[in-house]
């Protein structure tokens, strides 16, 4: 089916308008990140030169490298932990159902209706009581179990023929081996989706790190950018925007690489 040229042009115009509107704040911040305070003050749109002075400044004024490393470590741990914990739970619900396992499944799913913010006060007290303030433990462990993740993986595991499991049982393949060598590799799409999603959400987490970090040891970039903004914005927006560019780069790259995957995986989990 061929689209008439006029219609095609119309589509491109609309697409471009939306693209400009959506991307304008980021593009503008990118340009600002190369400007001196005077240029910002004059309301310039293009910087006089693309020098990385502001980026160097951002690294000098904040332990940004430390924060980046922290964010990377925290996000990676949550990603791995969440995929593993959720996959193990989903495996039971699909391949090892027992009397009452459905009830447990619904109990897990019901946690989706509890907003994290409604439980943050006791969680904060708990983590503080364990002496976990300013540790990776506080930033990672609470997020390993996830109703969304369990649900997403369960949906995918359901598409694996149960006969395969029975055959493996008869063939003497252990349950752990079947999980590790068959189920996980066969669910690569969903595992990657969940991994990318949990990395992204952890990297972008704001309120919890704000509560549980009081110094630089494990503080993440999101809190760093807040610091940079409140210290510098009166004087130097260029440096602040350089900081913004540095912290959004990793997630933007991840999103661009995994966009197709995420889109497929998220809708699968949502609809079926």
């Amino acid at each position: 089916m061929k689209m008439p040229l006029s219609q095609k042009v119309l589509f491109y115009i609309l697409l471009t308008i939306f693209a400009v509107l959506v991307f304008f704040p980021v593009a503008y911040a990118f340009l600002i990140s190369f400007m001196t305070p005077q240029e910002v003050l004059m309301g310039n749109i293009l910087p006089r030169s693309f020098s990385f002075g502001n980026y160097e400044q951002a690294f000098e004024r904040l332990p940004l490298l430390r924060y980046l490393l922290n964010s990377f470590v925290v996000s990676t741990i949550v990603m791995a932990g969440q995929v593993l914990v959720c996959a193990m739970a989903a495996y039971v619900f699909v391949f090892l159902p027992f009397r009452g396992s459905n009830l447990i499944f619904f109990l897990f799913i019901s946690t989706m209706m509890i907003p994290w913010e409604a439980t943050m006060i006791p969680n904060f007290l708990l983590v503080q009581g364990f002496g976990w303030t300013n540790t990776y433990m506080a930033l990672t462990l609470p997020f390993f179990a996830s109703a969304f993740g369990t649900f997403l993986l369960r949906q995918h595991f359901l598409t694996i023929p149960y006969e395969l499991y029975e055959a493996a049982q008869i063939g003497g393949v252990g349950k752990l081996k079947f999980f590790w060598k068959v189920v996980l590799p066969m669910s690569k799409t969903s595992v990657i989706t969940l991994g990318a999603y949990s990395f992204l959400t952890t990297w972008n987490m704001y309120l919890w790190p704000l509560l549980t970090t009081t110094n630089d040891t494990v503080r993440t970039v999101q809190i760093g950018i807040r610091q940079l903004q409140s210290n510098e914005s009166a004087t130097d927006w260029g440096v602040v925007m350089a900081g913004v560019m540095i912290i959004i780069l990793p997630t933007l790259i991840l999103l661009f690489l995994g966009q197709k995957q995420l889109q497929k995986g998220l809708t699968q989990g949502a609809i079926k």
Binding site: M1, M3, L15, F18, A19, V22, F23, P25, Y28, C86, M88, A89, Y91, V92, L96, F98, R99, S101, I104, T111, M113, I114, P115, E117, A118, T119, I121, P122, N123, L125, L126, P142, A145, K175, L200, W203, N204, Y206, L207, L210, L211, Q222, I223, I225, R226, Q229, S233, W237, V240, M241, V244, I248, T251, L255, F256, Q259, L266, T267, A270, I271
Partner: protein, 294 residues
């Protein structure tokens, strides 16, 4: 022996479920119960309950102007944010679902805000809203309109924060809706074209009905997420001016971690929980009926 063998699924199953059970108990169920418990107490500086207060905390928050105002602001914020961000994302997804050259580029741009954190987005928008050097006032000046105090004027602040939030949500909404569109069977459109249906007829008769489960899902998720907004408030307005953007999570945060009133903060948290629960149930009760499943 037979029983031992028959119960193998239970034993192995529970072992695999153990991490989830422990973690959910520790970080969701126990804290939820504790929040309910704390909401009936007055607490000391260390968050320890010292005095049983009955439902006093609840009567207190519901009679306080501050909390009532916070609920009103939150409701308005949700009304400003959710419908618009879903609608814009829907239009973008329909456009980006066309098979055109270079469409991948547009899809990447459209989904990009999902990769940008709340903190980073808020800082960027803080600059756009800046009274003297911000882009918005520069544009207004260029077309000879008076400057707007986006974040400092109580009339504008909530709208400004909503605008930021709409932008932040578009990426995720777009990605989910586009996924829903791509699940629709291609042949339906082909037969409709043969029957002579135009672009908008197809949109109304095929796309929207078949997309309704996805739309239902994204509206529910957006509602829940919007009720929980915090980062943009903390960075853009700190709840002000004159509490016009003091959304409920920010209010809880202030009550608990600035004023150290864990009791009343917990009561507010329970209200938040109840609202989210009711919205979810209503959505499923009334939304689900209007949804067309393929």
């Amino acid at each position: 022996m037979k029983l031992w063998k028959r119960s193998v699924n239970v034993r192995v199953g529970l072992l695999y479920l153990l991490p989830s059970i422990i973690l959910f108990s520790m970080f969701v169920f126990y804290p939820m119960a504790k929040t309910i418990y704390l909401s009936f107490f007055l607490t000391n500086q260390n968050g320890l309950p010292v005095y049983f207060n009955g439902i006093e905390n609840y009567t207190y928050i519901f009679s306080s102007d501050e909390f009532r105002n916070s609920m009103k602001a939150t409701l308005l914020f949700v009304i400003y944010t959710v419908p618009v961000s879903v609608l814009i994302a829907l239009i973008m997804a329909i456009l980006a679902n066309e098979k055109l050259k270079g469409i991948g580029f547009y899809r990447t741009i459209f989904s990009s805000t999902m990769g940008i954190s709340v903190a980073a987005s808020a800082v960027v928008w803080l600059f756009l809203f800046h009274p003297s050097v911000g882009a918005f006032n520069n544009i207004l000046k260029a077309i000879n309109l008076p400057a707007v105090q986006w974040l400092l004027d109580p009339e504008w602040a909530l709208l400004s924060v909503s605008l930021t939030t709409i932008w932040m949500n578009i990426g995720f909404n777009f990605l989910v809706i586009l996924g829903g569109l791509q699940n629709i069977d291609e042949s339906l459109y082909e037969s409709a074209t043969i029957d002579g249906a135009g672009y908008f007829t197809k949109l109304r008769r095929i796309t929207i009905p078949l997309l309704s489960p996805t739309l239902f899902f994204i509206i529910t998720i957006s509602l829940i997420n919007t009720f929980q907004s915090f980062g943009q408030i903390d960075i853009l307005t700190k709840g002000g001016p004159i509490q016009s953007t003091n959304l409920v999570v920010y209010s809880i945060y202030k009550e608990a971690f600035v004023n150290y009133q864990f009791g009343t903060a917990s009561a507010q948290a329970i209200v938040l929980f109840a609202v989210v629960l009711i919205v979810t149930i209503l959505q499923f009760k009334f939304g689900e009926r209007k949804v067309h499943y393929q």
